[in-house]
Symmetry: C3
Subunit: 353 residues, 3 copies
C-alpha cells in the first residue's frame, strides 16, 4: 500500500522547458453572462458596448461582447499551472492582440509555445518566454500574446539549453488592430448613452488624463476575481503560507490592477470601448488588500487603422498607483519609478471616430 502519491502536479521548473515546445493547457471554460456580471460587480465597468446588448447591436455587434480583459485573464489563468506555478515574478507582456470578439456562451481554451529561455546568472532561476494563444470553441484564435516570467529551477545543478531570447516588437502595428471589432455604425453610436462626448479626433498625442477616482481593494474581491479566471497562483489565496513570506500577506494578481485601471479610465476615455492590443505591461510593484488604486493615462499616439473610417486607435499608457491620487501624473522619480506606481500598461484602444 503506497503511503505517498505522485498524482499531484508541482508545475514545471525552468529546466523542464524546451524551445519550440507547445503546451495545451487544461480546463476549457465557457464564459457566461454570470462571469460577465461578476466582472461587472468587481470592476464596475461602464463602457456601453460591453454593458448593453441594445447599444452593442445598434452599432454593429451581434450583442454585447465580453470585456477584453476578462478574456485576457481567463486565457492567462489557463497558462498558470503549466507556465508560472513556480514563478518568482511575472516580468512582462508583448505583442498582445485581441483577434476575435468573445460572446457569452463561447468556450475558451489555451496553448503556449516556448519561444525563449534564458538562465539567470545565479543558476537558481531562468526567464521563460511563451507565446500564449486563446481559442474559442470553433478553433478561432481570440487572443495571442507573449509573456515572460522568471521561473525557479527544481535543481540548481540541472543542465539547461543555451539562451534564446526572442526578438519582440516594441508595439503592435496599428494596422494589425481591429480584427475583433466589427464595422461600427458611427451614426448609431450615441455618445450621450456612451457617457462621453469625446471621439477619436478629440484626442492628441501627449495629452494626459487623470481618471480622478480611487477604488479600495478587499481580499474577498481579488480572490473571487482570480478564482473566476481559474488562476491557481498560490500567492493570491493562501494567507497561512504568505504570512511567512516576503510580504507577509497575499499578493493581488497583477491583472486585477489592469482591470481596475481600465474601469477607472472610463472617466476620460469613455468612447475607448475596445482594448485591441497590449504593447507592453509591467507590474512595477505589488498591490495588497486595503490599498486604494488610482490611475492616469497619457495618449502616446493616435493612429488610423488601414481601411477603416469608423474607428481609430489611441496608443495609451495607463499608470496605476496605490494610495496616491494621480492629479500630478506620477510616474518616474529620476531613474526609478515613483514608489506609488504599481502598473504601467501600454496598449491600443479602439475609439469611435
Amino acid at each position: 500500500m503506497p503511503a505517498f502519491t505522485d498524482k499531484t502536479s508541482a508545475g514545471h521548473f525552468f529546466e523542464d522547458f524546451r524551445i519550440g515546445q507547445t503546451i495545451r493547457h487544461a480546463t476549457p471554460r465557457t464564459i457566461t453572462a454570470g462571469d460577465v456580471a461578476i466582472y461587472n460587480g468587481l470592476f464596475g465597468g461602464r463602457f456601453a458596448v460591453q454593458s448593453a446588448d441594445s447599444f452593442a447591436r445598434a452599432i454593429g455587434y451581434p450583442g454585447a461582447p465580453v470585456d477584453d480583459l476578462l478574456v485576457f485573464h481567463v486565457v492567462f489563468g489557463k497558462t498558470v499551472p503549466d507556465i508560472s506555478l513556480n514563478a518568482v515574478a511575472n516580468l512582462g507582456y508583448a505583442d498582445c492582440r485581441f483577434l476575435k470578439a468573445v460572446y457569452p456562451g463561447d468556450t475558451l481554451s489555451a496553448t503556449s509555445e516556448v519561444i525563449g529561455l534564458k538562465e539567470n546568472s545565479s543558476r537558481k532561476t531562468g526567464v521563460v518566454y511563451v507565446r500564449s494563444r486563446g481559442f474559442n470553441q470553433h478553433g478561432g484564435c481570440v487572443l495571442d500574446y507573449v509573456r515572460w516570467v522568471m521561473v525557479r529551477k527544481r535543481d540548481e545543478a540541472a543542465a539547461t539549453p543555451g539562451d534564446t531570447v526572442p526578438d519582440l516588437p516594441k508595439q503592435v502595428s496599428a494596422d494589425a488592430l481591429g480584427g475583433s471589432c466589427p464595422a461600427i455604425k458611427g451614426d448609431a453610436y450615441d455618445t450621450v448613452l456612451a457617457g462621453s462626448p469625446h471621439r477619436f479626433g478629440d484626442y492628441q498625442a501627449g495629452e494626459k488624463i487623470d481618471h480622478v477616482d480611487g477604488v479600495t481593494v478587499e481580499e474577498a474581491e481579488h480572490q473571487i476575481a482570480t478564482r473566476l479566471y481559474q488562476n491557481t497562483a498560490r500567492v493570491h489565496f493562501n494567507q497561512f503560507t504568505e504570512s511567512k513570506g516576503r510580504f507577509g500577506r497575499r499578493l493581488i494578481y497583477g491583472g486585477h490592477v489592469m482591470s481596475l485601471a481600465r474601469a477607472l479610465s472610463f472617466n476620460g476615455l469613455g468612447n475607448a470601448f475596445h482594448v485591441a492590443a497590449i504593447n507592453g505591461g509591467r507590474h512595477v510593484a505589488p498591490l495588497f488588500a486595503g490599498c486604494t488604486v488610482f490611475a492616469w493615462t497619457e495618449v502616446l499616439d493616435t493612429a488610423e487603422i488601414a481601411g477603416r473610417k469608423d474607428v481609430g486607435a489611441l496608443r495609451l499608457r495607463t499608470i496605476a498607483t496605490k494610495n496616491q491620487p494621480c492629479s500630478n501624473f506620477p510616474r518616474m522619480q529620476g531613474e526609478d519609478y515613483d514608489p506609488a506606481v504599481i502598473l504601467e500598461l501600454d496598449y491600443w484602444a479602439v475609439m469611435v471616430r
Copy 2:
C-alpha cells in the same frame, strides 16, 4: 503639447441645473441572470416569484422577474454621474412607482428631469429635485420616481435660479399600483412553496412585525453590489479619501440597506412578493461595514387595488437598525430617531389574496 485635459467629468454642481432640464443618462445596462445571481448572493432573497421560473410561470408571469429593488438600484446608479456626484446628502424619495416588470435580458436606460431647485441659505449648497425614469429596450417606462438631493455649488457666488419646490404626493394612490404585476392565478399560488401561510387578508393596519434576523455587512459585499449597479458615488469605494473624511471610512450606499431590509422582511411578509411603489424613504443615519442590520415593519394600511381580485396592497413602513435587534420596534426617541435607526422606508407591497 497639453499637460492637462478636460476630458474627465466632474459631475454637475447646483448652479448647473435648470428647471425643466432633461438629462439622458449614460450606460444602458442589460440585466442578466448573472446580475440576479449576484443580487441573490448578496441579499439572500427568498420570495418565490423572483427565485423560481416555475413558480412565477405557474401564477401568471412569463418567468421569474428581476427583483424590484435591483431595478431601482440600476436606474438610480445611472443617475449618479449626472445628478449626485457632488452631493452632500441624498435627502428623500417620493412617488416611486414600478410600472413594468423587468426580466433577465432586458436593457435598462434612464433619464431625469429637474423639477425643483432650492438654494440653501449658506449659498454653499442647494437641493435638486429630479424625476427619474427607467426604460426598457422597447422604450417602456419600468420605473418612475422623484428624488431630492443636496448638491454642492461649484462657486458660492454663482447666481442660481429662484427657488422652485415641487408639490409631491405623500403616498402613491393604491389604485395606481400593480401595473407591473400580471393577473395572478391565486389557485396556483402555493403558500407552502412560498414559505408563508399569510395572505393579504391576514394583515391589518397597525400590525408590527419583527423580522428577527440580523445580517452583518462586509466591505467587499457593498462594493460589489454598488459597482454592479454602476453607481459611481465616490464615498462607497475610496478608503484613501474617506479615511480623511467626516466618518473616517467608506459609507455604504443607502440602497444596500433597503435591499437588506427587504430580504430580512421575508420572515413575516413572505407573500408580499412585489414592491409596487415607494411612498417615501429616508436614510436616517449612515451604515458602515462590520455593522449588523436588523429590521421590523409596521403595516400602515391595507388597500384593495381597483379592478383586481387577485392581489391587494399593504402599505408598509420598514425600519432598519444597526447593531440593535428590533423586538421592541425601535423608531423614535422623543422628537428624534432612535440612534440605532438607519432607514425608514414607506412602501406599497403587493400580496396575494
Copy 3:
C-alpha cells in the same frame, strides 16, 4: 390594534417533529449560469466537465452540468428553515445519492421526511433524522440524502414520542452510483484538457494524495455563498449576536468547507469529475474567516459500476484542515481528531476509465 405578530417563523423545535411527517420546503430556486459563475468565483473549481459546455458535450452530456455540491447546498439550504433553524449542531450525513444531473435553467425544490427522533438525556435537545430529497421542475429526484441534527426543545418538559433511530447504510453501494452520469465517450475524454493524465485504473485503495494548496476564507465569501443557497442559519451572518456567543464570531457553513476541499482536490483527482454519492460526512470542528483550508484524500476503495465500462468509482475520504498543510496526512491523534481537522468526508467520485 395588535402590537405584536405571529407572522414570523421561529422554526421547529424537537418536540414539533413526528416520525413519518413529510415537510415540503419553501422557495423553489432556478439555478442559472449566474449561480454557476458565483460558485466558480468562490471556489475556483477546475473540473473540465463542469467548466466547459464543449468538453461536456464531447463526452456525452447535453452541456456542462451544475456542480454536484452546488446542488447539494441549494437543496440543503431549503431544509434549514424547517429542520435546523433551532439546531445546536449538524451531526452527520448518510446515504446521499446524486440521482439526476442538474443543468442551468433547472428549478430545484425540496422535501424532508422525518425518519428518526431521539431525545437526549438532558431533555433539552434531541436528534432529528430526516431524509431530504431535491427535485427538478419535472418532478425528477436529483438528490436524496439522510441528515441528522441536534435540535433544541422549545420546552424541556414537553412530551416527545419514543426514540426511533433509523438503520443507515455505512456506504452507498457502488452499483447504485452513476444515475446522474450519462454514458461517457472515453475516446473523446481529453485528459490534457481535463488537466490530469490519471484515469480510474491508476488509483488504488490506500493511496494518499496531498492536495498541496491552501485557500484562506473571507467573511464576504462564505456569506455570499451561503446566501446564494438561501440557507438561513443565523450563525453564519449575524456578528452582533455571534459576538456574544460560544465562539465570538460567525461560524462558516460546513458545506463551504466541503466545496473548498472538493476544489482543492482537483490537484490529484482531476478526472474525478462527478460526486456520485456521499457515504458520510462529519464537521469535526468549526471554521472561521481568516483561516486557511488545506485538504488531503485517501482512496478507500475502487469499484466498478455494474454495467458500465466507461467510468469507475473511487471511494474517497477527504480530510480538510485549517491552518495546517496536509503533507503528513493529518487525521487522528490517538482516539481524537487532530485539532487541525475540520472535515471528514467519505464519498464516491466517478472517474473516467
